[in-house]
């Protein structure tokens, strides 16, 4: 009924909050003349109506996950409605429809753009699979086992044979007892040939069992090692393709634990525990068959404890599973602390907080202990109980067996064979019970692996990517908005960047500059609106191909562990030595590289520790040069170095920017003076655009920023008190102090 085709309905907005913020479901309906509120299943009986007049406006806002839509006229507020952000999309459409009703000339352009938005929409979401992370998760490992199914089958057959071989010796005790030993006690001489026959049988069985066991273990370990490696590789590959968003929300330590120890655990489980378990099950089944074939009654008595043990396993299972999941999570907390503090060790030491970090680690460790203790409490009761039950089982067999022997129902040999069998049988039960915990642990680990694998990239590749050949690097942003979680970061950005021009992004820190370039580099996808390259939406290109067009130079250049040459050729692995040197020369890095002990073959440490900030920056510029990008993004590229080095870097950058579309972010406004266009951002919106001189003449935002830098420079004194930073970001302190100097320098030169 709610979706009856009522032609006058223009838009619907499901509301899930009442005005006093209770979770109540309503629907807000827009018609040409009014807005009305109705229960979701009965639109025919509106609860409230608001007539629409000329001059009415709908204002959409949100804060902390709470959306608000207000209807106002020129004088006062007529109504307001609340909803959670799950309906934000409907709300935006609702407002767009409303604006089309009351179209004003200034809004016409914007709406036309909204309408021409690409309809494609992607969201980062795990698959809708709703299987609980139970033992069944393990079956998903089949995907990785499939390529090895031949070897797995062989392993299984070997297991079958090996198990059968181990069951021969107890069987031989029967005739040994009944035909040799007991007749001997009764005065019959031992026949050496009979004894030899049986002993040979025992030896043969042992040898066969040994060789089969060896082959089986070898083959299956090989396979499981390969499966483990495949899981690791697949997970890592998948991880590499996830968006920055994902890495932002995950802790490094946790991811490291997942790929490292979880795969190892799965591996161990497959090669050892699962194998043992399969052997055990086979052995039990075979033993049961043999026992029943010898004497059904005795067999029945022997098996009495079995259901009890099975029931116990079932009960403990659940508790252990949750326990082990917690153990895993707490463990990743421990590793998280490591990955938090070790990269930040300078800060820890600078503020002499070693004791505090030690305490934090200690706390996590204590928690780890506590959680483990709790699991072990259940676990420790479990194992001995199984052992005790095993002993009881033996006792029953002894009692029943002796009674049967006394009745003449069975021979001593049969009883001996039974005891030999169930001795093995129950000892296997004991180890089988262990499978519960390892299975649960592995299931938990598998779940954590599949959590990663189920995550689909938020910047997906299109099915039929457009070609990137022969495109001019004209970048266009149309009505671009971006929100991260419940925070809107960019709002309705419109920008046209001509091929080969240089655009400078200016604004306070937190105004959305870096987010904007992240969107252009497609590290994230826009929440609404579109970004185009030469007129084509960038979501229609293959992500990797598109990024290859982009050279990125960051404030903190990251160098991988390896040689200088490897770092320069990172984006183009097949670069020749000449190309590398050429790039280094253009980036003004050649000379200092030659000064290094091994020239281009020198190793640079984890973060290029042995090099200064400026040197690392020049290597990263060479890296960007080598891939010959069409678009260049400079995110505070000269921010973390001193004035002298900056000049060298600036020369390198000038070389880099030639003939490329450049988008540069800088706090140091002077570095952006030659830009063809400056874009001033404030609180996620463009507030001004124009050239340096025009903007200064306009005396607006840019003028104030510029004045502030000059003033900062005049005030700055040798002791660098650091008062009056433009950015409140402490990590960028040095840059601002330096920037003031440079700004002043240029100013003076003027």
């Amino acid at each position: 009924m709610s979706h009856s085709p009522n032609p006058s309905v223009l838009a619907r907005l499901p509301l899930d909050l009442s005005p006093d913020l209770l979770f109540v479901s309503r629907v807000l309906v827009l018609t040409p003349h009014e807005i009305f509120l109705a229960p979701p299943d009965n639109e025919a009986t509106p609860e409230a109506r608001w007539a629409l007049h000329a001059g009415d406006q709908l204002i959409l806002s949100d804060h902390a996950g709470l959306g608000k839509l207000r209807l106002v006229d020129t004088a006062h507020s007529k109504a307001q409605w609340r909803f959670t952000l799950s309906h934000m999309k409907s709300a935006q459409e609702f407002v767009a429809q409303f604006q089309q009703l009351h179209i004003t000339p200034s809004q016409a352009g914007a709406i036309a753009l909204t309408a021409s938005q690409p309809t494609a929409e992607w969201r980062e979401d795990a698959s809708a699979d709703t299987t609980p992370p139970s033992t069944w998760t393990l079956f998903r490992l089949w995907r990785f086992a499939k390529p090895y199914k031949g070897q797995l089958l062989l392993g299984f057959l070997l297991t079958l044979a090996a198990t059968a071989a181990t069951l021969v010796p107890p069987y031989l005790t029967m005739p040994l007892m009944d035909d040799v030993l007991i007749p001997f006690q009764n005065g019959v001489a031992i026949e050496p040939s009979t004894v030899m026959k049986y002993l040979a049988g025992l030896l043969g069985a042992a040898l066969v069992a040994w060789s089969l066991g060896w082959a089986r273990t070898y083959i299956l370990s090989r396979v499981s090692e390969r499966i483990g490696a495949d899981i690791r590789t697949t997970t890592y590959n998948h991880l590499m393709h996830l968006s920055l968003d994902y890495f932002g929300s995950k802790r490094t330590g946790d991811l490291m634990a997942r790929i490292g120890s979880e795969t190892d655990r799965i591996n161990l489980f497959l090669s050892l525990h699962l194998l043992d378990f399969a052997t055990d099950v086979l052995m039990i089944m075979m033993t049961v068959t043999i026992l029943f074939s010898i004497n059904p009654w005795l067999a029945l008595v022997t098996l009495i404890p079995l259901p009890i043990i099975a029931w116990m396993i079932h009960v403990v299972r659940d508790r252990l599973r949750t326990g082990f999941e917690r153990v895993d999570r707490v463990w990743s907390q421990v590793t998280n602390i490591l990955s938090d503090t070790i990269p930040g060790i300078r800060v820890v030491k600078a503020f002499s907080q070693e004791a505090r970090e030690a305490e934090r680690f200690h706390q996590a460790n204590q928690l780890n202990l506590k959680v483990n203790d709790r699991v072990n409490r259940t676990w420790s009761v479990f194992a001995p109980t199984v052992t005790a039950l095993t002993e009881f089982g033996l006792l029953i067999v002894w009692a029943f067996g002796i009674w049967q022997v006394s009745q003449g129902a069975i021979t001593v040999g049969v009883l001996t064979a039974f005891l030999a069998y169930i001795g093995r049988f129950y000892s296997r039960m004991d180890s089988m019970s262990r499978i519960v915990s390892v299975t649960q642990k592995t299931a938990a680990g598998t779940k954590r692996i599949f959590d990663i694998l189920d995550h689909t990239a938020s910047v997906p590749d299109p099915r039929n990517p457009e070609s990137l050949e022969n495109r001019a690097a004209a970048v266009g942003l149309h009505q671009v908005s971006f929100r991260h979680g419940n925070r809107g970061i960019l709002h309705e950005i419109n920008l046209e960047i001509k091929p080969g021009s240089m655009v400078g992004l200016v604004g306070h820190s937190g105004s959305g500059k870096t987010t904007l370039v992240n969107l252009i580099a497609r590290f994230y996808d826009v929440s609404s609106g579109s970004i185009t390259l030469d007129g084509t939406d960038i979501r229609q290109f293959n992500v990797a191909d598109y990024r290859r067009q982009i050279g990125l130079v960051l404030q903190e250049p990251f160098l991988f562990f390896g040689t200088v040459a490897e770092n320069i050729s990172y984006g183009k692995a097949d670069a020749t030595r000449d190309e590398i040197i050429q790039a280094a020369r253009t980036a003004h890095a050649h000379e200092f590289i030659l000064k290094l002990p091994h020239g281009y073959d020198s190793l640079v440490g984890e973060r290029g520790q042995a090099l200064s900030g400026g040197e690392r920056q020049r290597i990263s510029i060479a890296r960007a040069l080598l891939i010959d990008p069409k678009i260049l993004i400079l995110d505070e590229a000269t921010a973390s170095v001193d004035t002298e080095t900056e000049r060298e870097i600036q020369q390198a950058l000038d070389n880099l920017m030639q003939g490329r579309t450049t988008i540069a972010i800088a706090h140091r406004l002077s570095t952006l003076r030659q830009a063809d266009m400056l874009v001033v951002l404030d609180q996620g919106r463009i507030v001004e655009t124009g050239r340096h001189n025009d903007l200064l003449a306009r005396q607006g935002h840019y003028y104030r920023l510029y004045q502030a830098q000059i003033k900062l420079n005049e005030e700055s004194n040798p002791d660098k008190t650091g008062l009056g930073y433009i950015s409140g970001d402490t990590g960028k302190q040095d840059e601002n102090i330096a920037s003031s100097t440079v700004a002043g320098h240029h100013h003076a030169a003027n």
Partner: protein
């Protein structure tokens, strides 16, 4: 500048207006809690539409009764942190998981995207962020019934 005799009113657009002693025209302001979790009743800033702080309130109690009520009204209309009273059911124990919950604002559901979205508060409570950014509060574990506690524990 701690001000104890702040004067507020609401305009026709339901905006909070601050009548600053030194200014003729009232300034539209938005109250913002500086420590919404640690100290919701203290440290409230009045921020104008450009995001600049105009006044500071050390403690809500310092205000007059009427003014405090106006301020509280403005605050509650801006933020929503329902308290979870009971977790009825969760779709699964792997994330993303949909929780059917009972809150002090009524029954609803929340989608937990990742276990990392459950924030442990120093007080022993939890703050659960839903996929769309709404925050749900659990004052502490024992606040919930046993069933809810057990469900929650699977995500901690």
């Amino acid at each position: 500048m701690p001000l104890t005799n702040l004067n507020f009113s609401l305009d026709a657009f339901d905006r909070l207006l601050w009548h600053a002693p030194e200014s003729q025209t009232p300034i539209p302001v938005v109250p913002v809690r500086a420590f919404p979790i640690a100290a919701p009743e203290e440290s409230i800033a009045l921020v104008d539409e450009h995001g600049h702080e105009r006044a500071w309130i050390d403690r809500m109690d310092d205000l007059g009764c009427d003014m405090a009520q106006l301020l509280r009204q403005a605050l509650t209309s801006r933020e929503l942190t329902p308290t979870i009273l009971c977790i009825k059911d969760v779709s699964r124990f792997a994330t993303p998981s949909v929780w059917h919950i009972e809150t002090d604002h009524g029954a609803t559901e929340l989608t937990l995207n990742s276990e990392d979205d459950i924030r442990h508060l120093p007080s022993g409570g939890f703050l659960v962020a839903d996929k769309f950014g709404l925050q749900f509060k659990i004052p502490n574990r024992s606040y919930l019934d046993r069933h809810s506690q057990r469900l929650l524990a699977r995500f901690l």
